[in-house]
């Protein structure tokens, strides 16, 4: 039986710890790709940008959501796009942005990348379904 592949864009508004929504999004995303669907991209906005913070360090018996996102995106080759304006306000920066802002440290982990909100428009245009968490 052939599966009708659907192209999904997911928008994540919640933080990796503190509320469940980013975790729900991850479970949805994993289920979608494992059932043969395609993830055009995951866009992290509002508190969602904190999912790209590599310093998140839960105890070993707890879920490390940034690492989970990174592993799933690596395995199924989809982009993790972090809104740069939401990220700067919440203290999530990559190495090059840190240099520009004269910060000595950074915290965005690969394969998360900083993007503009224009990228949301792009992901919105390319997908069959936009699902928000």
């Amino acid at each position: 039986m052939q599966i009708n592949k659907t192209k999904f864009t997911l928008v994540i508004m919640g933080p990796p710890y503190g509320s469940q929504s980013a975790s729900s999004a991850f479970q949805f995303c994993k289920e979608a790709v494992e059932n043969g669907h395609h993830i055009v991209g995951v866009f992290f906005y509002q508190h969602g940008v904190l999912n790209g913070n590599q310093l998140v360090s839960p105890t070993t018996d707890e879920t490390n959501l940034p690492q989970h996102w990174a592993a799933l995106a690596h395995k199924y080759k989809f982009p993790l796009e972090v809104c740069i304006s939401a990220a700067l306000r919440r203290g999530v920066v990559d190495q090059s942005e840190a240099q520009q802002l004269a910060l000595t440290q950074f915290n965005l982990t690969t394969p998360f990348v900083l993007s503009g909100l224009g990228q949301l428009a792009e992901l919105s245009a390319q997908c069959d379904r936009l699902v928000t968490f």
Binding site: F8, Q20, S21, S24, Q27, E31, A32, V131, T132
Partner: protein, 96 residues
């Protein structure tokens, strides 16, 4: 055709009430996260929820129910795979 998801408890926020207020006749509602609490307790919205259920338009996420040990009396239970399928069946999604 919109799939609405409600993720907060009906006794914590007005998300469920507001969602039901804007739910059109082709739409469906899926209760997730703390929203699954609405599948057990007696709410003012009960008649409307029962109607939705009779029409096959009221769903509840099984994983969130079991995580909380909350009993579902009113909605069709589905798992994450069912959630993915619902977002395909209903072309649009709105999270409350």
């Amino acid at each position: 055709m919109i799939l609405h998801t409600v993720k907060t408890s009906p006794l914590q926020t007005f998300a469920l009430a507001d969602c039901l207020n804007y739910l059109a006749k082709d739409d469906a509602l899926l209760l997730i996260e703390d929203g699954v609490i609405a599948s057990y307790i007696q709410l003012d919205h009960l008649p409307l929820l029962l109607t939705l259920n009779n029409e096959g338009r009221l769903w509840v996420l099984q994983e969130d129910l079991k995580a909380r040990a909350v009993v579902n009396n009113i909605a069709i239970a589905c798992n994450y795979k069912g959630f993915v399928e619902l977002t395909i069946k209903y072309k649009n999604h709105l999270a409350w």
